[in-house]
Amino acid sequence: MTEQISTLRDAMAAVGRARELPDDAPTLTVGLASSFTPLHLQTFLHASVQVARPESRVVMLPGLYGALTESIGHVADQGPDLCAVLIEWSDLDPRLGLRESATARRAELDDIIATAQVRLARIRQGLEAVASACPVAVVLPTLELPYVYASPAGRVGVLEARLDLLVAEYAGSLLGVNGLRIVSLETAVSERDLQSDLRSGFPFTTARAAELAHAAAEALLPRPTMKGLITDLDDTLWRGLVGEIGPDAVTWDLESGTLVHGLYQQLLAEFSRRGVLIGVCSKNEPDVVARALARPDLLVDAGSLFPIEASWNSKSAAVDRILAAWNISAQDVVFVDDSDLELAEVSAAHPGITALKFPTQEPRAVGELLTRLGALFWRERLTAEDAVRVSSLRSAAALEQDRSQAEDPVQFLRGLDGQVLIDDHDLWDSVRAFELVNKTNQFNLNGHRVAEAEWHKRRTRPGAVGWSMTYGDRFGTLGAISVLTGVLDGGTLTLDTWVLSCRAFSRGIEHHVLAALIERYEPTRIRFDFVPTDRNGVVAQLMKSLGYTEGESVGVDVSQLDLGDTAAVHAVEFVSR
């Protein structure tokens, strides 16, 4: 995501930049529901989304102002691509807003809580409805309670505590709703603009509006999560030079005053659980490293570290090998090292990599690093594939070794005992499928990213086709590895999205998918919305084998198609409706 826009001038300038877009630029509609006129918040949200999606013309779809539930309904009716919903205390009970509380008698706490529960339930219904069609950022109350209910600074009153608990439980329950992203900023009394609230009903200072809009836009358009982390060992994963003092003497505990390394290990362990690839790059003797990593008190499972590159060669070369083993690009990877020199050397060789220093001697700075890493690798939801990522990479490495010794490639594939499972009904709600479409670069038909709203629309197209494929063989399961969407119109099947995870390359899976499409839909012609990109050379090769000529759309006459022996080496099974 981009930097926060702080001034209205900058926000309006950002909004104005859309005027320079060509007339046929795609439109991105953003709904904004609140019970008050959102004024600058709308401008800031507009600007934040416009900056994050400069290729699109962002159009704001504000709600009707009054009851929040009606505002949400009004926004939902307009079918936005993205939506932000602002909940404030006054939406839970009007007596919790300044305008109402100023003229009302002080209400009984139980009565306010009961009203809040009913209203939150109604708001939830609206949120669920709009979230079924597009991503929704829900901004929870951030203002301080009206003065009549406020407790002194540093203390918590009963109403405040009960409302906070109610909202916290509410947020927890909303996290289970597909499409909802919860935004929460700290309550800050200085962020209320009393003059504006009384004058126009808009309760936030300009600075707070900017902050809220930025947080909502970040939730709606999250930055792609990093895929891999390559870590140094000495004075990074642990304190001390293992080659000098030995595997038993390096530390990461409180007693030694080196717990910052323990906290780092703990974070890496959590990342690994989330499916982040963790590799090691260290200038050391391999056997010394192996002994240190075998220590039972290590907080990260050494088995989750792959590959481990320990040698005296340059770190940039080691990073090269790790990236090759992972089959991902440097821009998806963070490199952590305590040495400025190593960081510079790796950055120079891999310009896209995010190189971060582990500031061993500065615990506060380590805290900042860990917070930053947490944000870079944060994932809203985990998928089954996250758990098997490292093991499938190891399998791929073992498979490549076997392949290099095989004489007949087709026979080799046949010996894998592979199974392709095709699911044609569970695609559209699958987090993994959506994720795969939006982060696969190499086997990607056209490199197009698909927004959630568009994804939802595709399922309702006449003749819609949507498949996700999983694969497994004797080397292990690779989980969901391929997704395609398209439209069947008469005898022509048009594929507008087709991705295949790089983990599943070289197994002939793409040929099996084509054969299965022909078997299932019996098209006379298959059209591919193929667009060459900098990174989809592997698709270009497949298209060439299917008769693609540069500059022309790829249409294949099925009767002329010869998929060869590699289309029949694995078992293919459909998950039936």
Binding site: T7, L8, R9, M12, A13, G16, R19, T37, L39, H40, Q42, T43, Q195, R199, S200, F202, T206
Partner: protein, 87 residues
Amino acid sequence: MTVFDSAQGLETAILECARTVFPDLTDVELLAATRQDLPEWDSLATLSLITLVEETLDIMLDDEEVQEFTSVASIQAVLAKRNGATA
């Protein structure tokens, strides 16, 4: 408050704010613009002008001054009064 040595400097600052809110108008049109005559000058435009002027001049306008945000000329007059008091 940012103090301007000349009426010209203040006018330039105000025009810049107005141009941000009404990017389709020329400077001549902006100088003649009034809330009554300009359809796109709605309450949000007024609030945007208030905030932009506050951001640009580093001031907090009071309610009486805000009431005068009905034309670019009257904004200029309100701020000239302030500028004169500060200079």
